[in-house]
């Protein structure tokens, strides 16, 4: 079965991103396909390459990165939500004359259409709100 996830919660502040990650891992462990994880609202903070938790705590951005690399999963950050919240890739940083960028390289910035596309392509879309 094809799953996609929509994540609207900030890591650490809310447990919901961690729940979503564990659900994603269980989807894959059960032999299902994970088509896309879409980050919106405060969920965009999951993509920060500058996230620096203490070494004995979960590092969600690295967990998503690993999942994406191991299973070739689409990690998409909503562009409108990301820009407002200070998450930029190199291209957006250039476009808006910002001195640097902070998006982890395994995440892609795109539009809300990618959420709709995930809803259309997947058998199940599950939302994780904060």
């Amino acid at each position: 079965m094809i799953f996609s996830l929509a994540i609207y919660a900030a890591p650490y502040s809310s447990q919901a991103s961690d729940t979503a990650y564990r659900f994603a891992a269980a989807v894959l462990a059960n032999g299902h396909q994970l088509y896309r994880v879409f980050f919106y609202h405060d969920g965009v903070h999951n993509s920060s390459a500058l996230m620096t938790p203490p070494q004995d705590e979960i590092n969600l951005v690295l967990q998503w990165q690993q999942l994406s690399q191991d299973y070739n999963i689409d990690l998409v950050v909503c562009i409108a939500a990301a820009l407002r919240r200070g998450l930029l890739n190199e291209q957006e940083a250039n476009r808006y004359d910002k001195p640097t960028f902070n998006l982890n390289q395994n995440f892609e910035i795109s539009g809300l259409g990618q959420l709709v596309d995930a809803a259309v392509i997947s058998d199940r879309l599950i939302t994780f709100g904060g």
Binding site: H41, A80, L112, V116, A119, T127, G129
Partner: protein
């Protein structure tokens, strides 16, 4: 995408908007999401319930907050041909909001039982 492909992938998507405007950005982000979806030739519906029904009050004036007027944005749904718009009857009732206070004319007020069966007719729920 050919017409044939379209019909194969035409799904029923219900957007459920449960949060008040202004206090959080969820109401606005739900609206942005359904407007984006209108470009994908799917069968779209929108349901307001709980504090989400406050989004529909026509008397809104957020000028002091320097934010966009939510009530003024909602009529754009018709321009995007999103016509299946529902409001939860019991949520309106609990807040003593009458239908003539709402900004949208074409909304269908439905009760809990009807919402329950509306949900079972969908392919996906987008929860806001």
């Amino acid at each position: 995408m050919t017409t044939n492909n379209k019909s194969i992938t035409c799904k029923k998507l219900l957007f459920i908007s449960r949060h008040a405007p202004y206090g959080t950005s969820l109401a606005k982000e739900a609206l942005d999401a359904i407007l984006a979806a209108s470009a994908y030739d799917q069968n779209l519906s929108l349901l307001f319930m709980d504090d989400g029904v406050f989004q529909l009050l026509s008397a809104q004036d957020p000028s002091d907050l320097e934010q966009k007027n939510f009530a003024a944005m909602l009529p754009v749904l018709a321009l995007y041909e999103i016509e299946n718009i529902y409001v939860h009857f019991e949520s309106l009732q609990a807040r003593q909001i009458t239908i003539n206070e709402l900004i949208l004319d074409g909304v269908q007020v439905i009760d809990s039982k009807t919402i329950c069966s509306l949900l079972t007719q969908q392919d996906q729920l987008l929860s806001f």
